[in-house]
């Protein structure tokens, strides 16, 4: 049996990978699935950023001469019933999904953080009221609440973002509140109090930064479900209105009737949604393992 080579063992455990690219490379090798997720997310973001450059057709231009053309060299993913290029619509659709995903996650999380922090830090009746509102919002499934919200607000991009953000608030608020309650009792908060720091300052400077890791984990996990919810809303015809190329909407136009006649109208938008969500889910899992090892599964 060979003697243990400590250099090799340490390197394998990542002892030399403490900063910069080395650390990134080390983490990437350790979390293969997470890196794959990041890769899908990058493609998704690049498609959204450079949609105009990588498309030969305008996603909105109607060309009835080429309606329902099957995929070929000219239209890589075929055309829809109006003769619009499916590839262009999917690339531009990435923008909508990304905007809704990031927009509603950011909005929902920031409000959730404010609610959770206030609720956990102030306790008393403020906490009680916030808790009840959270209970109420959590008694309705995400899609149902989002459906009612879009119906109330009317279909448009900002309204869809708001409608999906609101159901996210209670989940984030719950996690932040639980964290705040635990952090409030720790010695460093007591120390800050003893040197005369104001409560608001303690909450913002000491408690908030310590809740960031679970927040990032949660927000990444929510990103996928916001993209899915937008797709479902648009699929039901209550999300992003025409003529914007939303992936969910593309499926609703083609839905059951094209299953037989134009399968490319069903396959490609579905793959786009699934890959985008799959990527964020894979990445979110790896991020959870890195940032919040206690939850590791």
């Amino acid at each position: 049996m060979d003697a243990i080579n400590y250099d090799i063992e340490l390197r394998r455990a990542g002892a030399n990978a403490t900063q910069g690219w080395r650390k990134v490379w080390f983490l990437a090798r350790r979390h293969v699935l997470g890196s794959a997720g990041l890769f899908f997310m990058l493609i998704f973001v690049l498609a959204a950023a450079f949609a105009d450059l990588i498309c030969r057709f305008d996603p909105l231009s109607v060309d009835s001469a080429h309606a329902l053309a099957s995929p070929d060299a000219r239209h890589w993913m075929g055309t829809d019933s109006f003769g619009r290029d499916v590839w262009s619509r999917i690339m531009h659709g990435a923008r909508i999904s990304l905007a809704v995903g990031i927009g509603s996650t950011a909005l929902g999380s920031s409000i959730g953080v404010i609610v959770g922090l206030t609720s956990g830090y102030l306790s008393g009746w403020v906490d009680l009221v916030f808790q009840r509102i959270t209970d109420i919002l959590q008694a309705l499934p995400l899609l149902v609440l989002a459906l009612i919200m879009t119906a109330a607000l009317g279909p448009s991009l900002p309204n869809v973002i708001i409608a999906i953000a609101i159901p996210l608030i209670p989940t984030v608020a719950r996690v932040i509140r639980a964290n705040t309650l635990a952090l409030r009792e720790l010695p460093f908060v007591e120390a800050a109090k003893s040197i005369g720091m104001s409560e608001t300052r303690i909450a913002l400077r000491h408690v908030l930064p310590n809740t960031l890791a679970p927040l990032i984990v949660l927000a990444t996990a929510q990103l996928g479900s916001t993209i899915l919810t937008e797709a479902s809303l648009s699929f039901l015809g209550l999300g992003i209105p025409e003529p914007y190329p939303s992936w969910g909407r593309m499926l609703s136009e083609s839905a059951a009737e094209y299953v037989r006649t134009a399968p490319w109208l069903v396959i490609f938008p579905g793959i786009a949604i699934s890959l985008a969500v799959f990527g964020t889910n894979l990445f979110g899992d790896a991020l959870r393992d890195i940032l919040d090892p206690r939850q590791r599964g």
Partner: protein, 315 residues
């Protein structure tokens, strides 16, 4: 224990009251009511006719009065009338419930029977290729939109049988009935099976690290006995929570799946009612969903105490 249950019931009522207020207000800030839609379709607007119709539907009353009328009616078992079909809302909603309930039940059955065993396997084989494979499958289950999965199933059925399964409320044979319900239930249940599997896996991993598992192995208990008899018994609690909550939250998947497969259940009815601004139907359906969610949560908590003797609710 008794005090705890009473407190929970009171909180449930508070939650349901809150939801009723939120839904009622949200539906009324919508620009344009059913009367506007009807008149827009007709192409002309006679203000007198419009006012008449609004009075008939009670839409001219102050919002507080409308709310009290709804709640009062609900307590007497009168849910109002559908604006669209003009039938009592109860008669519209009740016949659709069994259809959705059957779908949900089958989907949960699928979710538990696939999710739990696969989760156990994944945990026991942690770090192996099989584990990686199962984790990717379960994550993809959480990533595929269930309406797309439904469309893919329709596509496969066209390719294989040359036809699509069409919903038939009175199936002739039991195989037909099974096909009618199982296929959409599969599309909905795949997601919750994936969720069940993930929770089972992480819960099992946690339990497998505990000392009593090592003791069981030291005693010479077989691998099978350790995994299923010792570990799964304790790991199953969080799984029950998830399945219980999924039971109520499946409605999200059912909404899109019933739309894809053209199934006349309550979930699709909700979307139709929202499109038509059929307030009485929408608000009653949302309350129905809320009641199911709240009851599911309560049942899960009670089940917890029944299954784990260490948990006793005191207050």
């Amino acid at each position: 224990m008794f005090a705890y249950i009473v407190r929970r019931l009171v909180l449930m009522l508070v939650t349901l009251f809150g939801i009723s207020v939120i839904i009622f207000v949200l539906l009324r800030i919508v620009p344009g009511n059913i009367v506007d839609i009807l008149f827009a379709a007709a192409g002309y607007v006679d203000q007198a006719d419009k006012a008449n119709l609004e009075r008939e539907l009670g839409l001219d009353q102050p919002i507080v009065v409308q709310y009290l009328q709804w709640i009062g009616g609900m307590l007497r078992g009168d849910l109002g009338y559908s604006y669209v079909s003009e039938k009592p809302a109860l008669d519209e909603i009740l016949p659709r419930i069994p259809i959705t309930a059957r779908l949900a039940g089958l989907a949960l059955l699928f979710s538990a029977s696939m999710g739990i065993p696969l989760g156990v396997i994944s945990a026991v084989k942690q770090g192996t290729r099989l584990d990686y494979f199962l984790r990717v499958v379960s994550l993809s289950g959480l990533s595929l939109p269930s309406f797309w999965l439904g469309l893919l199933i329709l596509m496969a059925s066209v390719a294989m049988f040359g036809t699509m399964p069409i919903f038939n409320p009175n199936p002739k044979t039991w195989t037909e009935a099974l096909a009618i319900y199982c296929v959409p239930a599969l599309a909905v249940g795949f997601r919750s099976a994936a969720l069940t599997m993930r929770i089972t896996r992480s819960s099992m991993l946690e339990v497998l690290r505990q000392d009593y598992i090592r003791t069981a192995r030291a005693k010479g208990a077989s691998e099978q006995s350790v995994n299923f008899h010792h570990a799964l018994k304790n790991a199953i609690l969080p799984v029950i929570t998830v399945i219980g909550i999924e039971a109520a939250f499946l409605i999200g998947g059912l909404i899109v799946t019933e739309t894809v497969f053209n199934i006349p259940g309550v979930a699709r009815f909700l979307v139709e009612a929202i499109r038509w601004r059929d307030y009485p139907i929408v608000q009653n359906l949302v309350m129905l969903i809320a009641v199911v969610v709240v009851l599911a949560n309560f049942t899960v908590d009670m089940l917890y105490a029944a299954l784990d003797p260490r948990i006793r609710y005191t207050d």
